[in-house]
Amino acid sequence: MPRLCALCATQRPILKRPKTGQQICKTCFFHVFETEVHNTIVEAQLFQPGDRVAIGASGGKDSTVLAHVMKTLNDRYNYGLELFLLSIDEGITGYRDDSLETVKQNQKEYNLPLKILSYNELYGWTMDSIVEAVGRKNNCTFCGVFRRQALDRGAAMLGVDHIVTGHNADDVAETVLMNIMRGDIARLGRCTAICTKGEDTIKRSKPFKYTYEKEIVMYAYFKHLTYFSTECIYSPDAYRGHARSFLKLLEAARPSAIIDIIYSGEACEVSEEATKELKERKTCKRCGYMSSNDLCKACTLLEGLERGMASAGITDRGRKQLEASGPAPDGLRTIPFFQMNAQSPSQSAPDDGRDSAPPMPAVVGVEAG
């Protein structure tokens, strides 16, 4: 007698769920995948009706599936959200330029407005030029720091209340392991939070926090979703690669390890004594973004690049070298001043004379309405 789906017991199973090991049919897989994300959203109370939500879209599998699932759940459960696609062009030839074509396709498929913001227009540097200056060991630091700011700026330009990203359970588990191994207490205290919100930053959530990467791939495959599947050409040298290979070994031995690591991360917090050592949150004096020091990391990295001392924001030696060479000369390229726009785009942003943000690039696609 052929085996039946472990959930509905009516159809033949066609896959084994990586998360639970259950053999289930396609219909049940779609149902549990989508419902688990819905439960995550509802449990964490991520959204309110009327929220304007930007989906960080790279064209990769996570953000493509995220866009699809957010649109599906928004319609099915009447979240009442206004959805946008927000893309960042880091300027990586052969990788990002191709994946952005996928995002444009997603925009047409889901009928969502799309905004693309590039490193070049925001910082004057592409990742290709950064890697030429910095090498391949610390380039991911630049990309991560610049992308975070770029997402916030793009979201502020769109006037959204909330950014959602496609970070999945594997990403969160890798981050927990990585932060333990590198001693990054500040990040360790934040990385398992499903939603992060600062005073001057836009709320940011990870609806896929408990969703396995393998299941995202399976979902995209069975739903015939189009996505760009090449890994970043600079990623093999990143420290995260060590955490990833370790996680894959653990997953092979015990598939629940991914969720177990997330649980461990959620079960701890930074102790009271250690919290006193953490730097307090300030505002960058140059660009107004959130910062632990006088200058935010992005401004520090950019100054280092502009002044030919690319390791300024990376190593202690680089930082001392930058400090020793005196203050930044006039006319150096800087990041435009950041102002979180709490108003909708139909209302004009306050003009205080300091705002030197570049003119807003055109929003591609049909306006939501």
């Binding site: 090991g21 333990i180 390890a257 177990d260 461990s264 079960a267 701890c268 917090e269 102790s271």
Partner: protein, 414 residues
């Protein structure tokens, strides 16, 4: 991993000069006279300075844990409330620990309560800290068919240390009612056919995945040691976990969902139940070598000529979470030399988010609330929206911590 630095100005065939392991000189940094014999984290030591340095480091780790309450502003005499049990596995760490503890706190001191010559007076530093010391070894060969029994080898090592009593245990004692009675624990009567060994084998074969076996044996070993310590009126149980092993066990614990018990993995105050705790009956589990890296332990053992019995490799251990973690951390330490110390330091800065709701009935460590609800919320395993009907059989699940529940339920990918 690519080994190219990506710098376009460098010649592709250029060889990078080997980084010097020490910055200044080959002389010992302490005495500045002798030629160095060992480099520990870029510091050069000669043999004569290394050994006292190691004793002092271990002393600084263990002595604050000896008195029942932490010291106040004035340093008090070392006065533990009970005896000492040293857990011995046959590995490098426990061999070194046994030697260091014996030399520092037993052989070099007179027994407690003995009056002595007029010249020494009643100097507390000349008196043994613990009245009695026992060395406890748990033999696990019963869990694996064909594994060699090393109890006699271990006995031979321990008997070299006078005044320390050897207490051999077997892992199947955890399933032996008479053993539990001998340590003053009365169990509810249960009907079971067969020997403790067959009960152990049945238990291990019923586990859902091979990765659960090493975790289970570790938990059982720990419980046997704790109950032995309690029944021998010992206030301290010393484990030979060095810094390297500690970092590995911390990451391994995180990987098994045991983040709530990171503090207990470093040091814990254990009692079998709340009544014992209220009467002051508890065992403090300490790791005197937790600031000593494996390299230092190895050099100590070499210079002292210690015989290492070693540990048998468990069949299937390579697929275990602990072994995978160990191979990974030791490999990573080669490229990033401060990994081991960073892991231990990071975990020391973490504390549990919630308050514990009782103790896990399997591992006897604090259990966090809402384990079942969390697991049910994260994964949908049934299409039925009705709450699960309580079966007539009692379930252990609500009384287990996350890590133990995962060990007993998490299947392998096969």
């Amino acid at each position: 991993m690519s080994t190219s630095c990506g710098n376009p100005n460098a010649e592709s065939d250029a060889l990078m000069p080997r980084r010097r392991k020490f910055d200044r000189s080959k002389l010992c940094i302490k005495c500045k006279i002798n030629q160095g014999n060992i480099v520990i984290r870029h510091a050069v030591y000669c043999k004569d300075c290394f050994l006292p340095m190691m004793y002092n480091k271990i002393k600084r780790t263990i002595e604050p844990t000896i008195n029942p309450t932490p010291e106040g502003p004035r340093k008090k005499n070392l006065n533990p409330s009970g005896n000492l049990v040293i857990a011995f596995s046959g590995g490098l760490g426990s061999t070194v620990l046994l030697d260091v503890i014996y030399r520092g706190y037993f052989s070099s001191r007179r027994p407690r309560g003995e009056t002595n010559t007029l010249s020494e007076g009643k100097d507390p530093k000349k008196e043994r800290v613990w009245k009695e010391g026992k060395v406890c070894y748990v033999e696990v060969c019963g869990a694996f068919h064909g594994m060699r029994d090393r109890t006699d080898d271990v006995r031979r090592i321990v008997e070299r240390y006078d005044d320390l009593e050897f207490v051999p245990l077997r892992i199947e004692d955890a399933f032996d009612e008479s053993w539990w009675e001998s340590v003053d624990l009365i169990l509810s009567p249960c009907s079971r056919n067969g020997t403790p060994l067959s009960a152990l084998c049945n238990y291990l074969s019923s586990l859902p995945a091979p990765t659960a076996i090493p975790s289970t044996l570790q938990t059982l070993t720990r419980l046997l040691l704790l109950h032995t310590a309690l029944s021998t009126h010992s206030s301290h149980l010393a484990l030979g976990t060095c810094l390297t092993s500690l970092s590995i066990s911390l990451v391994s614990l995180v990987a098994q969902g045991g983040g709530f018990n990171l503090k207990e993995e470093v040091q814990e105050e254990w009692s079998p139940d709340s009544l014992s705790r209220s009467k002051g009956r508890s065992v403090r589990v300490v790791r005197p070598l937790k600031d000593i890296v494996m390299k230092e332990c190895a050099m100590y053992a070499w210079w002292k000529g210690l015989e290492i019995v070693g540990q048998e490799t468990w069949p299937g251990a390579r697929q275990g979470i602990s072994r995978i973690t160990k191979d990974f951390i030791i490999g990573l330490e080669k490229d990033y030399p401060s990994t081991v110390s960073t892991i231990a330091r990071t975990c020391a800065k973490l504390s549990p988010k919630d308050h514990a709701v009782g103790t896990c009935i399997l591992c006897n460590r604090p259990a966090q609330p809402g384990v079942q609800e969390w697991k049910n919320r994260i994964s949908i395993r049934s299409l039925s929206t009705d709450p699960p009907v309580s079966s007539e059989k009692a379930s252990l699940a609500p009384y287990l911590c996350y890590a133990c529940h995962t060990t007993l339920t998490s299947k392998s990918s096969k």
